[in-house]
Symmetry: C3
């Protein structure tokens, strides 16, 4: 086996308000360019008001229901929220982040991400305004 | 220290409908066979309608309450779900997956998983029908 | 690049009942002492009634709302819980753990954790009594 190494890439995603943006291909592109064939990819989002989620990437209705579910589970008009300095979407965005994921680790073999057939990796934006979001992709492997 | 290496194993779990299936020993068996003594094990489930969860593995009532909690948090008869092409359990299974975990990373030292005394790793099946589920176990270590 | 290695540290956190305790600096201190500059840090909590969460670490009101949200999402007086052998906080603590994280993976570059400006890593204690909690910090890198 080749000696293991660590490689990082930072990608920036422009979000258009709440919703999910698929980043699977961005991770796959960096993996391909790295030349690493066996290892683990760690994806990490550097924010507390957006998150990562793996979701079915075939039928968009699954993602619409995902968005709606989190709107209802953590409503913006929750009367007892104290942390509202940035508006009614401030605290719901943190809670929706805490309930999903900040890091995800995906195995790599034969130079490919070992995602299942229907799995896509998505940035889950929880704020209604446009944002530029930074995601770190780290590959440990050889 | 020995040079680090990456080893993968794919395990297949036959589920019998909704519920949790402990896979701790399957991960431990692969670790033992690998000969790796220091590192990190990443467990990754290749599906969007089942997930991973760490739970107390002593008293089965904890897992029964876990199952019931997710039945109630994401009910199958939710009237506004649009993604129902595979039946009323389709969207709830994705949401229960998104609320738990797809990957889990467990440290390894002296050839053992550093789980706490009461921690077990479980496959959490969210669909009522039987399924064959694929899980990738990846060890990075030496 | 230096050959990769694996280093572990175990930290013990004394909690004073429910709430969040920031551990970012404890992870950063171990990283600094390790001399590793490029890699991934995996943080793993060895319990089923506390968890990890990344949260904004600037305004304490965000964490108060986080605590309150989980009190309400998984109430202690839930009448159908069966797993109550250790009291009414027993099952809620497991569920709040399952809904947040047991492991978190954070990239490291130039010897620094690549956390975002507002991200802190917290131990989330779900039990009302004082506890000593063990957390394993593992660095894979060179």
């Amino acid at each position: 086996m080749k000696p293991l190494q660590v490689l990082h890439d930072t990608i920036r995603i422009e979000t258009r308000g709440k919703g999910t943006v698929e980043i699977t291909d961005r991770v796959g592109d960096f993996l391909k360019s790295s030349g690493i064939t066996e290892g683990v990819v760690t994806v990490f989002v550097r924010h507390t008001s957006c998150s990562l989620v793996i979701m079915e990437n075939a039928d968009p209705s699954a993602r619409r229901d995902l968005h709606e579910f989190f709107e209802r589970l953590v409503p913006e008009d929750t009367p007892w929220f104290q942390h509202t300095c940035e508006g009614p979407d401030d605290m719901p965005s943190h809670l929706r982040m805490a309930l999903t994921r900040t890091s995800e680790s995906i195995p790599v073999s034969s130079g490919r991400l070992l995602l299942g057939t229907w799995q896509g990796l998505f940035l889950f934006e929880h704020r209604p305004a446009r944002h530029t979001r930074e995601i770190i992709i780290t590959i440990v492997g050889g």
